[in-house]
Amino acid sequence: MSATARGHGMTLAEKILARASATESVVPGQIVEGTVDLAMMHEQGAQTVQPFHEMGATRVWDPDRVVIAIDHWVPASTEGAAVLHRILRKFADEVHLPHFYDVGNHGICHQILAENGWVVPGDLAVGTDSHTNMLGAMGAVAAGIGPTEMAAVLALGRLWLKVPPTLRIEVRGTLGPGVTAKDLVLRTLGEVKTTGATYKAVEWTGPTIAKLGMPERLTICNMTTEMGAKCGMVAPDGTTMEYLARTAKHAMHPLQPDADASYERILRLDVDGMPPMVACPYSPDNVRPLPEVAREHIRVDQAFLGSCTNARIEDLREGAAILKGHKVHPRVRFIVSPASTAIYRQCLSEGLVDLYTEAGAVFTNSSCSACFGGNMGIIAPDEVCASSSNRNFPGRMGPKEGRIYLMSPAATVAAAIRGELADPREYA
């Protein structure tokens, strides 16, 4: 169901961009210069160094607002990756960037930002990765940019932005047992599609969202990237403030959307009775109810529980609860990769590493791992992977024919046990 609301107030994205550009109010389509609160780089940041020098820049505008977190190839698995890391380390030394999450203290860049309080309510944050959207869960505008643009941000501390129109997604109802925030965002993608929010801001709201914890909000904001959105966010509330209470790195501005804000579109969803969902090859919006797809007995060769979307401690506990008392199917390679070193250590102390490895999984170091087909966990052309990640485009895990099904952590584990796609509720 869709509707349009017209008022004179501002949406959350508009409020934040008005603050960032020090103006009273902004309207969609307006071009503003925004002051950046936080800039994040991962390996792609290596491509920032050359344009930074070509611009004639010598100093970074504010080294305390720059985070470098390497994650795609950690530790370096190829010579090329080693060189990228080397370029970043040298650059960080040269221009004095102290916040470098290097091997041993590493994790997926977005998770590093989330768990260390680098992005707080009201911020304008940018990162050299498309899933920077995830940090919108803090009540911030967080967007991905390319490395040349990042060079300009490092030099000037600001960038131009076109104020996006906002798609408001109001969710009500209760997620049933075995049905998660991941299923909610997949279902939403099935409706909004991969181009439905292109250039737009997505504002998640409603009683169901209010009840979600921060890890779940991070998951639903993460996949607004797959909708094409510039940013996705949840307005800050008590849950947000509590999460950031001890870690916030700078002042918080818990802005709220106005009651009479203008939305380009309002999508209303009810999750009562919603089954687990799955995105089938080759697009994250090719979404169907998982029980229906499971009836087709789709054989799985690899299962991947990892990525910035779903590899937090809560996700790994959710998976462990399903796996307990079962074994990984002998035909399946099951890869579990926590999203950060902190989560890795938490898994050790909770006995989750034992639980996963005893069942036959490989429990890896924290990194992007099998998510992007460039490091490890590559599949063969005729193989299928059940994955808790966010993309299933052709070639995402290596060969263009490889088939990836996207689902919740619980469903990923259910597939690892059965050796084919399965409804996780049968294992609860």
């Binding site: 792609q44 498309s130 940019i145 390319g146 040349t148 181009t195 510039k230 460039g374």
Partner: protein
Amino acid sequence: MREIIEGRVWTLGRDVDTDQIISGKYLTIIDPNVLKTKVLEIGLPEFASQSRPGDILVADANFGSGSSREHAPQALRAAGVGAIVADSFARIFYRNSINLGIPTIEAPGVRALFERFDPARIDMRAGSVTNVRTGRSISFPPLPPHLIDLLEAGGLVEKVRRELAARHPPAGTMPR
């Protein structure tokens, strides 16, 4: 920025994402001249070996979706692509492409106008794309002034370089 851009067209479908433009396995390569030999390996495999400088890409909706990898427009620039025209673009690709100085034009409906190797003519000021073989053409809203500035400077690097230079004049220049 040239006001009139002419070239031979390569056509592409919808949702050509950055994995199809530069596959994940090549992301540790940063030399554009190597990247160009891998460009569109999944999306249009014959392009890398058969394209000529000045060729124009005409794509359907959502070109460049997926990751923020600038390798994608960099490889296309290194291959000498004269312009990219699409029914629509994914946002990060669009920004990256403009920042690199590639004329990047959103013209809804343009894909239907072209077949492979048709000659195209783009008028940047007037805002039109014409298929010179069929004579059919489509208009697009001219780019906003700040994007024209960016393309005219030859991309973001040069634009920021000028700005920083104006802020810190080299030693010996008189303050204005």
